[in-house]
C-alpha cells in the first residue's frame, strides 16, 4: 500500500493548489515591521523611535505625532532618504532606526502623557500597509531626573 502515499500527496497537492488559501508572501505584521517605542527624556521632551525591519521602509511625510492631554510642538523628524515617486514627486523614506523628538509644552512632573503616533510604510516585496495609528502612555519625569524607560504600545492597535 506504499504506492498510496504518492497518490494521496498528489491529490492533496492538487487540492491545495486549487484552493484559495492565502498566497501571501511571509510578511511581518506592521507592529513588528515598524516597532514603535518612546520615552519621556525630560519634562519637555519625548523621544519616539521606530525600529524598521530589514526590507521595510516608512514614509517621512506620513509620520505624525501628537500628545494628550497637553499639546506637543511640531515633532522633529530626521531627514530621510530621498526617493522619487511618480505621483507624489520627491518623498523621503526611513529604514533602520528612526529617532524623533517630540517637544512637550506645559507638563508637570509625574503627569501621564498619551503619545499618538501615526505611521505608514511598505515592504520591498511590493506591499504597503495601511496608515497605522498607535498610542502609548508615558510618565513625565521631574526636572533633573533620569529619562523614563522606553515604552511600547499596548494592545490597542488595529492589528491586535
Amino acid at each position: 500500500m506504499r504506492w498510496l502515499v504518492p497518490l494521496f500527496s498528489l491529490l492533496f497537492a492538487t487540492a491545495h493548489a486549487e484552493g484559495i488559501s492565502s498566497l501571501a508572501p511571509k510578511l511581518l505584521p506592521p507592529e513588528q515591521a515598524f516597532r514603535l517605542s518612546a520615552r519621556a527624556v525630560d519634562p519637555n521632551t519625548i523621544e519616539a523611535r521606530f525600529d524598521v525591519a530589514d526590507g521595510y521602509y516608512l514614509y517621512r511625510d506620513r509620520m505624525h505625532f501628537s500628545t494628550e492631554p497637553v499639546p506637543a510642538a511640531n515633532a522633529v523628524l530626521p531627514p530621510g532618504k530621498p526617493k522619487h515617486d511618480a505621483f507624489f514627486g520627491d518623498v523621503e523614506t526611513y529604514r533602520g532606526e528612526v529617532v524623533v523628538r517630540v517637544p512637550l509644552v506645559k507638563t508637570a512632573a509625574g503627569q501621564k502623557i498619551t503619545l499618538h503616533a501615526d505611521s505608514q510604510g511598505c515592504a520591498d516585496v511590493g506591499v504597503c500597509y495601511p496608515p497605522n495609528p498607535q498610542q502609548l502612555t508615558l510618565v513625565v519625569p521631574a526636572a533633573g531626573d533620569k529619562p523614563g524607560a522606553f515604552v511600547e504600545p499596548g494592545g490597542k492597535g488595529w492589528f491586535k
Partner: protein, 189 residues
C-alpha cells in the same frame, strides 16, 4: 473434463481471484482518495463561492459619488484590485491593468479598482492614469472584506479574480504580474 483439467481450472481461479481482490482494493483505495480530495476541493469550492458572493454584494461609490454594485459585472471575469494612492507598488501595476482591460474587455474581463483612500486623491490619480475601469471608494469595510479572503494584514495591493460563476479563482497579495494575469485570464475567459 478430467480430474487434471479440473485441478488446473481450480488452481487458476485462485490466482485470478487474488488478482481481482487486489484490483478491487486498488479501485477502492483510489475511490477513497478521490473522495477525500473531492471533499477538500468541495469545501474550498464552497468558500470560493461564498467569498466571491461577498465581493459581488459590495456596493460602493465611484469617484463621482454614484453608488456602484459589483453585481452588475456578474457573468464576467471580474478582477477586483484593492489599491491606494499612498501605495507605490499599487500605482506601478495599474498601467498593466489598464492595458489588459483595453485588450480583453471585449472578451469579458472587467477590472474594478477599490481604493482605500481619499476620493480627491483617487480622482487625481484616475485622471492622470486615464483609468479605463471603475475606481470605487472603499472604506475600511472593503479592506475588512479582503481580510476574510486571506489578506490578514490588510496590506495593498490585494487582487481577487472571480470567474464567470462568481467564484474566487485567485487571490494575490502584492503585485499581480502580467504573466500570471495572462495565464489566469487564458484559463477563465
Amino acid at each position: 473434463m478430467n480430474a487434471a483439467d479440473a485441478a488446473a481450472i481450480g488452481a487458476a481461479p485462485e490466482g485470478r481471484s487474488r488478482r481481482r481482490a487486489l484490483i478491487v482494493g486498488i479501485i477502492a483505495a483510489v475511490a477513497l482518495a478521490l473522495g477525500i480530495a473531492a471533499a477538500f476541493l468541495h469545501r474550498g469550492g464552497a468558500d470560493a463561492v461564498r467569498n466571491g458572493s461577498a465581493v459581488l454584494k459590495l456596493v460602493l461609490p465611484d469617484t463621482n459619488g454614484q453608488q456602484q454594485a459589483l453585481a452588475q459585472w456578474r457573468g464576467k471575469v471580474v478582477v477586483v484590485n484593492f489599491w491606494a494612492t499612498w501605495c507605490a507598488p499599487c500605482r506601478e501595476e495599474m498601467p498593466e491593468f489598464v492595458a489588459t482591460q483595453a485588450r480583453d474587455g471585449a472578451k469579458g474581463v472587467q477590472f474594478v479598482g477599490i481604493a482605500v483612500d481619499d476620493p480627491d486623491k483617487v480622482r487625481a490619480f484616475v485622471k492622470e492614469l486615464k483609468l479605463n475601469y471603475p475606481a470605487l471608494i472603499g472604506g475600511f469595510g472593503a479592506i475588512e472584506l479582503s481580510r476574510t479572503l486571506g489578506n490578514d494584514l490588510a496590506a495593498l495591493p490585494f487582487t481577487i479574480v472571480l470567474d464567470r460563476q462568481g467564484r474566487v479563482a485567485h487571490t494575490q497579495l502584492g503585485p499581480l504580474r502580467q504573466a500570471k494575469l495572462d495565464a489566469l485570464l487564458g484559463r477563465l475567459l
